[in-house]
């Protein structure tokens, strides 16, 4: 990510960040099941904004979920304030595009070409528009980082972007960027849980193969 932002500064062109469409059309957004990945994406935005403020790169962020606009404005402002560069913050760079999935993609394609973005960072919850956005940025030769927890769009993003955070890596990235010992502890806890889950699955499978039906107990 730092590499990408450094590149944007060198070229004097803006960095673009988006949390994706997050099924905004169907009453989605942070008040729905895609909320967690959108919020996790927002934590990464904090980090991106901080880097941009440090290096002096323009940061354009685009949204399909209107309720994220105030949040993002505050997050970015906060990042610029902590670097004492609040006067460099431009509120018109926090852009709501549209809640219709493909209108959102259309808007981004146009924006990319007009602003000549150098780096494209996508962290959040994506639908089919992800490929349009990623390939649109690719046309400009932009450096791309993406992260998402969904699996339907990942293969495509993975093929195009320079760095991809797959599934869980995406949530873990938010923790790693925070340098908070408590959060790292939480990550370790999750790993232990995973070990437990793997062990449980193997044991449960063997029991099932031996002929005991434990699935009915799990379904409770």
């Amino acid at each position: 990510m730092e590499e990408g932002i450094g590149r944007a500064v060198e070229l004097g062109r803006p960095v673009h960040w988006t949390p994706g469409y997050g099924s905004a059309e169907h009453a989605g957004g942070i008040g729905s099941t895609s909320g967690l990945s959108l919020l996790s994406g927002m934590t990464i935005l904090g980090h991106v904004a901080k880097l941009c403020a440090q290096r002096g790169a323009d940061l354009i962020s685009t949204f399909a979920n209107p309720e994220l606009v105030p949040l993002a404005t505050e997050i970015i402002k906060e990042a610029f304030r902590s670097e004492n560069k609040l006067d460099e913050f431009k509120s018109e760079n926090v852009q709501f595009i549209s809640s219709r999935q493909y209108a959102f993609a259309t808007g981004l394609l146009g924006l990319f070409q007009r602003e000549k973005i150098a780096t494209n960072i996508m962290t959040g919850s994506f639908g089919a528009e992800a490929l349009i956005v990623a390939e649109g940025a690719q046309m400009l030769g932009a450096f791309q980082v993406a992260g998402s927890d969904g699996t339907t769009q990942l293969p495509v993003i993975f093929a195009i972007c320079d760095y991809t955070l797959i599934g869980e890596e995406f949530f873990a990235a938010a923790v790693y960027l925070s340098d908070d010992p408590i959060q790292r502890g939480a990550l370790r806890g999750q790993d232990l849980f995973k070990f437990g889950l793997i062990a449980f699955t193997i044991v449960a499978m063997i029991i099932t193969v031996l002929g005991f039906n434990i699935v009915t107990y799990l379904k409770m």
Partner: protein
């Protein structure tokens, strides 16, 4: 004031989250109705938020128009279509013939055309990216080729074994990998969610003051 500014939001989020979760664990009728009321409210609040989005757009575009920035003509087009659609939709309801024209003959085809752009983008990406640079990307390539041969009827004509092989890749390898990724992401999202509820992850409400 800092109670309202800082602590109240965290407490509300905690309470709401806990109510929804306990509704899942215990099946009490009172809890169920509270939970569904809350989800209803969230839908209503989300509906209100679209106004913020519209205001953001109008603000930005009118700035462009006033400053006569590049492409300001298009901004005028945008504002006119926005209010035009809104006006027809509110006055004439969504069944008004003009609204149907906007919806059926412009928005719907534009939607489909944009999603058809994906096919083009996939074509150029396939040419550029799917290359056997090392063993890992060779695996990706083989899986992609076999599944393509399964999906195109012509594959079955070339060799009847292609569908079986491709099917194995989709319902075998891909299903397994997919399941692993999903379980992993689910665990992480639960951890992340709990941190938000406990107020350890506060960055979602922006300003720290």
């Amino acid at each position: 004031m800092s109670i309202i500014r800082r602590d109240l939001p965290v407490w509300i989020a905690f309470l709401v989250g806990v109510i929804l979760l306990s509704d899942y664990v215990f099946s009490l009728p009172a809890l169920k109705s509270t939970a569904s009321t809350i989800t209803n409210w969230a839908v209503i609040v989300t509906a209100f938020s679209f106004g913020i989005g519209a205001l953001n757009i109008i603000q930005r575009q009118s700035k462009v128009i006033i400053r006569r920035e590049k492409y300001w003509i298009y901004s005028i087009v945008l504002i006119i279509t926005l209010f035009g659609t809104l006006g027809i939709g509110l006055i004439g309801t969504i069944n008004h013939p003009y609204y149907r024209i906007i919806f059926d003959n412009m928005m719907a085809p534009l939607n489909v055309t944009m999603s058809s752009m994906l096919a083009f983008f996939l074509a150029s990406a396939a040419f550029r990216v799917i290359r056997a640079k090392n063993f890992e990307s060779a695996l990706l390539l083989i899986a992609a080729l076999l599944v393509m041969l399964q999906n195109a009827p012509i594959g079955q004509l070339i060799w009847p074994g292609f569908p079986i092989l491709g099917d194995f890749f989709i319902t075998g390898f891909a299903a397994g990998g997919n399941r692993g990724i999903q379980i992993g992401a689910a665990i992480a999202s639960i951890g992340f969610g709990i941190r938000i509820l406990l107020g350890q992850e506060k960055r979602w409400f922006g300003r720290s003051e």
